[in-house]
């Protein structure tokens, strides 16, 4: 596995979730209506990921 793939494997999900979080925080701050719905969905993502892997543990292959 090359270095770039390795970085993506370790950091891909955390960076995507951080981006979703920041988007959610700003969408709720700067927008109204549909933006609030988008913000709620985006901020629910990290919580959903926590619940998913906690409830359904994934064993390392």
């Amino acid at each position: 596995m090359n270095k770039k793939n390795h970085f993506r494997r370790v950091w891909g999900a955390p960076i995507a979730l951080a981006a979703l979080t920041v988007f959610g925080l700003l969408a709720a701050l700067l927008g109204t209506g549909a933006w609030h719905w988008a913000a709620w969905a985006a901020l629910a993502a990290p919580i959903g990921v926590c619940a998913y892997f906690w409830a359904l543990p994934r064993q390392p292959s």
């Binding site: 920041v22 925080l25 709620w40 901020l43 926590c50 892997f53 906690w54 543990p57 994934r58």
Partner: protein, 429 residues
């Protein structure tokens, strides 16, 4: 920085702040819903039912009523809520009185009737929400308490950053989201600590940093007063404060008329701690979602009632104002508050599991040292002293080896039977 140094930072920054952060997270849960709880606990008169479009009553009348209720006291501020038809008149025995004596009279914004004569701050502080707020913000210790908890918040931020650095090497051979169950409780909680921590990283950083900024509110506001406000006051040098201040309603109207699209949210009275001796300091709120959180201070000359200055707040006051919604989570409806509460609960799990991992690791280390000490005292010297050998394996070996040759268990082995002691004895004889 080496990984070992990052580990040191992570361990000590979190160890020092964890207990305080746990209290902050737990008290933060009810505080997220403080509007709902305050509403539910409100024992004042209900608002009058009025037809849509009913104009608001003049705050001058409310100020007059408040003064009549407390003739010896001064009005500190007026807060005209824009969500509910309510107006709070903040009062104090004098402008330099201890804040614990300050109190608020709540008025109906439409009728101008008194809805509630609130208790003094000293009593308010001991209500359930007052205690939650104190434990969250200053532990009843005022500014020193705020600065201390601000420092704990900084350590929390350092713990998050160092934890992020450690996450990379830790996950080298693990897929994202791996929670290794069934091997040991400690390993499972280590994986969960890392998973929950990295997933909520951005939220934790934002709420942590904005929390620190909020704890700096008093010094930041003081800095603004001592620099920019002091400059604006220079032309008034030597003048006595106005003996009969102009109308406060007129001051609010003049201020909001000066900035189209803005409404007056609150006023600090001339002479009050957060105002100036010569002005009504009116705080305007903008109409867009963002400017609704960015307040503009306007100075109205309290002698003439004329507009003095629309102040451009410095960057640090803007940062402070933006830090409030981003910390409180009260800017995106009730669903955002529930998400805030869930993320807060996850943070509690990260903090508690971090503490558990430290205790468990210490226990494991202690057990390992005890086992190595026993092994050292055992008759068989060929002990695998590899640092990664588990305490159980080491102690099991130490106990079983001598058991084969002698019935005496290893820990209570008589000194004479160990090789070293035997050789000492033979030398002596």
């Amino acid at each position: 920085m080496k990984l070992k140094a990052w580990h040191w930072v992570h361990k000590w920054s979190s160890l020092v702040c964890t207990v305080f952060l746990l209290v902050i997270c737990i008290t933060g849960l009810p505080l997220v819903f403080h509007e709902e709880i305050d509403h539910w606990q409100d024992d004042g008169q209900p608002y009058a039912q009025v037809p849509e479009g009913t104009p608001k009553a003049s705050v001058d009348g409310m100020a007059r009523q408040a003064r009549a209720m407390y003739p010896g006291e001064v009005i500190d501020f007026i807060f005209a809520d824009d969500d509910e038809p309510e107006v709070y008149v903040g009062m104090a025995p004098s402008y330099d009185a201890d804040p614990k004596f300050s109190h608020m009279v709540k008025f109906d914004g439409h009728t101008g009737e008194v809805l509630k004569d609130g208790p003094p701050e000293s009593q308010e502080r001991l209500s359930f929400m007052g205690i939650m707020l104190a434990l969250h913000v200053d532990w009843f210790a005022g500014l020193p308490g705020q600065l201390f908890l601000g420092l704990m918040g900084l350590l929390f931020v350092a713990a998050i950053v160092s934890g992020m650095v450690l996450y990379g090497p830790f996950m080298k051979k693990l897929p994202f989201g791996a929670v290794r169950e069934g091997r040991s409780r400690r390993l499972k909680w280590l994986d969960l600590h890392n998973l929950l921590g990295i997933v909520t990283l951005a939220w934790g950083l934002v709420v942590g940093v904005t929390g620190v900024i909020n704890e700096l509110a008093t010094p930041l506001f003081g800095l603004w007063q001592a620099t920019e406000v002091a400059q604006l006051l220079a032309p008034y040098k030597g003048q006595p404060p106005p003996s009969t201040p102009s109308s406060v309603q007129a001051a609010m109207d003049t201020a909001s008329a000066a900035l189209p699209g803005h409404t007056a949210l609150s006023v600090n009275f001339p002479g009050s701690r957060f105002g100036t001796p010569h002005h009504y300091l009116v705080w305007l709120k903008g109409g867009s979602p963002l400017t609704a959180h960015l307040f503009t201070p306007v100075l109205i000359d309290a002698a003439t009632g004329k507009l003095d200055t629309i102040v451009q707040p410095p960057w640090y006051l803007t940062a402070l104002e933006l830090s409030r919604p981003l910390h409180f989570g009260d800017y995106g409806g009730l669903p955002l508050k529930f998400l805030w509460a869930l993320l807060d609960l996850i943070t509690i799990v990260v903090l508690a599991s971090g503490l558990y991992l430290w205790v468990a690791r210490r226990k494991a280390t202690d057990a390992r040292i005890a086992a190595l000490a026993r092994a050292h005292a055992a008759p068989v010297p060929a002990m695998p002293a590899a640092p990664d050998a588990t305490a159980a394996a080491v102690s099991g070996l130490a106990a079983s080896k001598p058991a084969a040759s002698s019935p005496t268990p290893a820990p209570s082995m008589p000194a004479a039977s160990t090789p070293a002691a035997a050789s000492l004895q033979s030398e002596n004889s």
